[in-house]
């Protein structure tokens, strides 16, 4: 028996109505069941409406304009920054840098802070469960300036080995960069503890929060994170915009990342003076409408309440794990429900994840198949790919039942 959906403070039926994309048949008679929110979330009409409204009412380039539209646009753009700052409890909005996505946020730190502050041989600690976006930028830095990379191992049940971490901390690391929640295992890492230990060892920390901010309350000051990266498109917001939070004194000390308009105070033919935060890191015309849409997404999530989002997803995840355990041949990766967010990655004995995904798709059920941008983690578990169902506030236990039915039909076809 599923727990009743109203056990948590969230009105799913009402929420679903805000997401027009969910009201469609992807194949004749097959209503969409979208279980791929870890890849990207759907957007409520409040978000698409805010952007259209911006374009139809206020669109202008920002910051340097005196006319009415430019002022409205600037207010909306900066207003969204304040909302984001409030959501993650940044000390000031100027600690919020708009980027394109989590990936760019991490590249910005690797490139600006990394090139300026790291020397050959300096140690950066990562984990074996990282997304490619928190691996490749550091590998590139290892190639160009010769930093050293070490990895916190992942146990068979999908948890970080904190004892191994403490041994690594003895090697004088400069940075510990890790994901808050795994997009494959679902593991919610003990971020506060990891950060505290890093600081004790004299290292800074960067948290990849791409799967965290959308799904549970995050307080960067409480965590004491030095850098924190996430993406709008995974948290009900538009594509094309991401966020880098950084402590002010760190951001202030960093050299600019890209050069161009708006990131400067003065420019001569052969020199420039960089602008103040946050503009120093926002070169050129930014993603203005996207910031407005992100602001609307933050409003939406705040109205639901991040605690409610987390509780509801926990309810879904628990239900999904229980039901998946019933299906013979299905093997779910990662820890159990109380250490994990709304992600269930699994293999199906004798059936390639592509085939699982394709057959589910024929039933209208969207799950992802592949390495989910975590090839080293898959290699660690000696598999090439998994199927992944991931959940958000617009999903229901009834949809999970349909997923399970779908898996039984996979079994029938390939049995």
């Amino acid at each position: 028996m599923p727990e009743p959906e109203n056990a948590v403070q969230i009105d799913v039926k009402k929420i679903i109505q805000d997401f027009p994309v969910l009201d469609q048949e992807v194949h004749p008679g097959k209503k969409l069941i979208y279980l791929d929110s870890a890849a990207t979330s759907q957007k409520p009409v409040q978000v698409t409406g805010a952007m259209t409204d911006y374009y139809h009412r206020a669109n202008a380039n920002i910051h340097r304009g005196i006319h009415a539209l430019a002022e409205t646009a600037t207010d909306m753009y900066e207003g969204a920054r304040e909302k984001v700052a409030f959501l993650i409890n940044a000390a000031t909005p100027s600690e919020i840098i708009y980027t394109r996505n989590t990936t760019e946020s991490i590249n910005l730190v690797a490139s600006s802070w990394g090139r300026a502050g790291l020397k050959p041989g300096d140690l950066v600690i990562l984990t074996e469960m990282e997304h490619h976006s928190n691996l490749v930028p550091w590998q590139m830095l290892a190639e160009t300036i010769g930093i050293r990379l070490e990895f916190i191992p992942v146990s068979q049940d999908g948890l970080l080995d904190l004892q191994a971490y403490q041994l690594l901390l003895e090697e004088d690391p400069k940075l510990v960069a890790f994901m808050h929640m795994s997009n494959v295992l679902g593991t919610i890492n003990p971020a506060q503890k990891i950060i505290q230990l890093a600081h004790q060892a004299g290292a800074l920390t960067l948290v990849d929060g791409a799967q965290a901010v959308p799904h549970f309350p995050v307080d960067v000051q409480d965590l004491d994170a030095d850098f924190y990266a996430f993406s709008s498109h995974k948290m009900l917001g538009p594509t094309g915009i991401g966020i880098l939070y950084g402590k002010k004194h760190l951001l202030e000390a960093m050299p600019p990342y890209m050069g161009g308009g708006d990131m400067i105070k003065r420019v001569k033919l052969r020199s420039f003076a960089p602008n103040d935060l946050p503009h120093k890191f926002e070169a050129g015309t930014p993603a203005i409408a996207e910031a407005v849409g992100l602001g609307a997404a933050v409003d939406y999530l705040s109205a639901v309440g991040m605690h409610n989002v987390a509780a509801y997803e926990h309810h879904l995840t628990k239900y999904a794990l229980d039901r998946l355990a019933e299906v013979p041949g299905v093997w779910v990766f990662g820890p159990e429900a109380n250490q994990k967010g709304g992600v269930a990655s699994f293999t199906f004995e004798g059936v390639h994840p592509h085939d699982v995904s394709q057959i589910l798709d024929a039933e209208g059920i969207a799950v992802r198949a592949g390495h989910h941008c975590a090839m080293p983690l898959h290699e660690k578990f000696k598999i090439n790919a998994t199927s992944r169902a991931s959940f958000y506030i617009y999903n229901t236990t009834a949809e999970i039942d349909r997923l399970i039915d779908g898996l039984y039909s996979v079994k029938k076809i390939f049995g």
Binding site: P353, Q358, A362, H371, I383
Partner: protein
């Protein structure tokens, strides 16, 4: 996915007609699709007139990659190397008889890519998607 064709693919996947390897062989090539781990090796025997007399594939992966390899081997036996070079993406899709999205297309075309790289005598790792465009 149309049920009729799905049956053919599942059948080929479960009961391949040409799975195996040839030793000795005249041409052997292998490659994989890193995105999903599909792996295909193709071995050919070629006579003095350049006709493929025997062929086999081995590998692992999804039903599309394995079934299309099996179907491809069936087609290629008895063909000249030049004819093998002429096999196109569309030929493979005709063999499979289904519409494919961009991701599955890569699965479907892996065996053709391996075949062509072998026939053109490319070195290991030199097979490129341009072979099957």
């Amino acid at each position: 996915m149309d049920d009729l064709y799905r049956e053919q693919i599942i059948d080929r996947y479960k009961n391949p007609r040409h799975r195996g390897s040839l030793a000795p062989n005249d041409i052997s090539y292998q490659d994989d699709n890193p995105l999903c781990g599909d792996h295909i090796q193709i071995d050919l025997r070629v006579n003095s007139e350049g006709i493929i007399t025997e062929a086999a594939f081995d590998g692992q992966g999804c039903s599309i990659s394995q079934a299309s390899a099996d179907l491809l081997i069936e087609t290629v036996i008895g063909k000249s190397l030049d004819e093998a070079k002429d096999i196109s993406k569309d030929d493979i899709l005709d063999l499979l008889g289904i519409e494919l999205g961009p991701v599955r297309l890569k699965c479907a075309l892996l065996s053709l890519k391996v075949l062509k790289a072998g026939v053109y005598g490319l070195g290991a790792g030199e097979a490129s998607d341009e072979l099957v465009e």
